[in-house]
Subunit: 487 residues, 2 copies
């Protein structure tokens, strides 16, 4: 019975992914969203640390902490990876041990699943307002530590058992910036009436996939939740148009668990187990006062090279958030990063080149990252052999092999104007074979399977997987909603 | 292709599980094993901490550490679980951050897979010698920190890619005694010639299942590796006799992924995610000097109630280990525990009642434990409502509903004479419905699926799953090895 439900669900997801219009046309969404953004002014100003209210550097540890001990702290981590190009360093890191909820509520209208999305202003967003999941709440938020307003729609996610669970899995966030941060990624389906509050709207998965192609619109939390949707090839084949170009057909086949894969899932899991067992990665939380190579002045903590990121403080004046004004520390990367998947068809099945990547903040040492994930500037002072594999291959790709190329923002509650250029790039058939030992070609089915569990796929790879879901559905036959939804 | 291989592998595992004799008869094994045990004398004596060589209480922290900083340390952990029956405590705990290897080498003889097993003496074994995996090595062992002999057969496991991986997954160990300890559970198939060294022998999976029914014979490491074998229902149905009593037929159906289950796997994963997200479990490593409620004298660290366990020191004189004599600290439980699964057929499919259990040493907060896992004496001083659910139901079960009942030993390298009475008990149909919120009825197929990944199934449950594999195959048609293996 369970499996029958899953097959039905997968087909309904595929139908929604192929619906380019839902209750409203996408053009109408854009007009409404522009209005909402205007109605949600947010003003963010850099301030000296001394002007933070409720936050202070702890006299003993030097950690930047809130008076209540809640929210998060800026502390430090010391890393030792004996045989790596950079065998050891220390750095500031954000410690936020509580598990938050990132939840999208879905509901069928006219036989097509729609997602309830929210226009949300966050201090770190380079453009003020972006499109967020239905619920995006830290534990402090929803237990209302700061006395703010209640989080709308939260009750659906706290009482998931009473509804239909589509996805529900703890996933990591940036392992270079967060210490063991995880959020609960949830998609919950409801059938009863749902009031649409100001700032919220229903969009099909297909519409969200279209919006993914727009710079800095779909926020990180929306992308990671979308990546956890259980797409499967059987459903996609039955819904999506078959008369399509080769690479998209290979992508649709790649979602099918019976399609041939370069490595069996057993081999992939063994490769990850081996990477986690090397036992040579040692991380240790240390007081921020003991971090080396970083300097704190009145307004920022910066690396002596000027690279990586800065810890800064900001004052926020917001018109429509739980509180109207506050101050907080933020992490500001020094440049726009590059995050890319190389993909290619192997025996007619799309494969994605993933990297078993060590980041100090992961709970379980290694997660699968995109082919490339870096800030190119960080490597300027290192020897050429320290340059990330495939970075130049990605940057030099001719335009006709670039399948996706959009600048997207990272989390706007902790990171200040953090953006990455996200790319999906088609590799030449014979290029990059065999890949280095910490890289493997995986099918989309294998990645979807791993995403049912924690600890496997990092947040940058999840963003790109949401993009790949969108690419696979992009040119499909449009399914007309049964109730005559406008186009 | 990957899936075809998996189906073939599952069938070959089923054939080996149904083979009650292999290259040698089990009676011959018993005779040989008795001889080996005699040839491997091990003498273990309790000594005062002051007589430990190379180990000392660190003057600052009070932690019990080795001079080299390697092997393991005895330190302490502070636990807060606000709404629990016991909302907070501190305790000594063993910290051994390195990942060891527990590996079984398998090879076909006459068309039947055999496992290379080892008679191994360990200081904590109540009976000296037990049956171990091919390789059972800590990282310190195989990097030979203590200058011992090389670990035989290790090379097959360090170079798994060159062979056929049957299972390869990091699994936790006792979360009440170990801080985040994990070992790599591996089964590797080889086809070339393998020299059988003194103390090693080839046994079928069916023979190992038979030996599981004998007190203190198959050691914990063997059991956890056996539990990770990827049994599936399709293969079992095609190999095992169909004319069997109802409960075993229900067990065989339970391995089949298309059999109906009480909860979908999606619901099971969501239930585990919710348990991990409550955010109210806080653990903190503290120096052993700061542990409260425990007292150290010349020979032991004991809880003031006399319950739980003791930290002791021993002197070991062994005839056939990497070194012939050494001293070390050990953890000695104060009583034999009870570990039990309640099982029953639901719609003709065997289900097992698992408990989402918090233990302070887990890397990811919660793992699935057996229905009952406790030392009954620990609850004597608590109110009746604090008595573990189902403990009395298990202890009061009439004999005809007891399917498995054997005393088995826990790890003999760190734990001194640690034993549990392992039970599988058939529940009455209407009993225990619905179970409490932190319990769920799962199929064997769901448990086998979770065991492909880390962080899901605890070591006690894994031992019982190995026993369930054995019960499912117990009365099956005997497959005669093609090369005329003796019976």
């Amino acid at each position: 019975m369970a499996e029958e439900h899953d097959a039905g669900l997968a087909k309904r997801l595929a139908i929604s992914a192929s619906a380019k219009a839902g209750r409203g046309a996408t053009a109408d969404f854009h007009a409404a969203f522009a209005g909402l953004a205007e109605a949600m002014p947010i003003q963010v100003d850099r301030i000296p640390f001394a002007e933070l209210a409720g936050w202070a550097f702890h006299p003993g540890t030097g950690n930047l902490v809130h008076d209540t001990g809640r929210f998060f702290t800026v502390e430090s981590i010391e890393v030792r990876i004996p045989d790596a190009v950079v065998p050891g360093w220390s750095q500031p890191i954000i410690n936020q041990p509580e598990v938050g909820i990132l939840g999208i509520l879905v509901k069928e209208f006219g036989g097509v699943l729609h997602c309830l999305m929210q226009a949300k202003a966050e201090p770190g967003n380079c453009n003020g307002v972006q499109l967020s999941p239905t619920v995006q709440a830290t534990h402090s938020n929803y237990t209302r530590v700061h006395g703010g307003r209640r989080v709308p729609y939260l009750e659906y996610f706290l009482d998931a058992d009473a509804h239909q669970v589509v996805a529900d899995v703890l996933q990591s966030e940036q392992g270079s910036w967060f210490y063991r941060k995880r959020n609960r990624n949830m998609v919950i389906e409801v059938t009863g009436p749902v009031e649409v509050l100001d700032g919220f709207c229903w969009l099909t998965i297909g519409q969200l996939h279209q919006l993914l192609g727009q710079d800095n619109l779909l926020n990180m939390d929306s992308r990671t939740v979308l990546s956890c949707l259980p797409f499967t090839g059987e459903a996609l084949e039955s819904v999506f148009a078959a008369d399509t170009e080769d690479l998209r057909a290979a992508a649709i086949r790649s979602y099918h668990e019976l399609s041939p894969s370069r490595h069996s899932t057993r081999e992939v899991l063994s490769w990850i187990t081996a990477a986690r067992s090397r036992g040579d990665v040692r991380t240790r939380r240390i007081p921020l006062a003991e971090v080396t190579g970083w300097t704190r002045d009145a307004t920022a903590i910066t690396h002596d090279s000027g690279q990586f990121f800065r810890i800064i403080a900001v004052d926020v004046q917001a018109g429509s958030r739980e509180r109207t004004s506050w101050t907080q520390p933020m992490l500001e990367p020094v440049e726009v990063g590059v995050v890319a998947f190389l993909v290619k068809s192997i025996a007619g099945v799309l494969h994605v080149l993933v990297n078993a990547c060590i980041e100090p903040g992961y709970l379980d040492v290694v997660e699968l990252a995109p082919t490339v994930q870096c800030c190119p500037g960080n490597y300027a002072h290192l020897a050429p052999e320290a340059r990330p594999p495939f970075l130049d291959a990605v940057l030099d790709t001719p335009p006709e092999r670039i399948l996706f190329d959009t600048v997207l923002s990272e989390e706007g509650g902790r990171f200040f104007a953090a953006r990455n250029r996200y790319l999906v790039v088609e590799a030449d058939d014979d290029e990059h074979e065999p890949p280095p030992p910490d890289f493997r070609w995986l099918t989309l089915h294998q990645l979807v399977g791993l995403l049912r569990h924690s600890h496997y796929v990092n947040v940058q790879a999840r963003s790109l997987i949401a993009c790949l879901h969108g690419l696979s559905a992009r040119h499909s036959a449009v399914v007309q909603p049964a109730n005559g939804g406008r186009r």
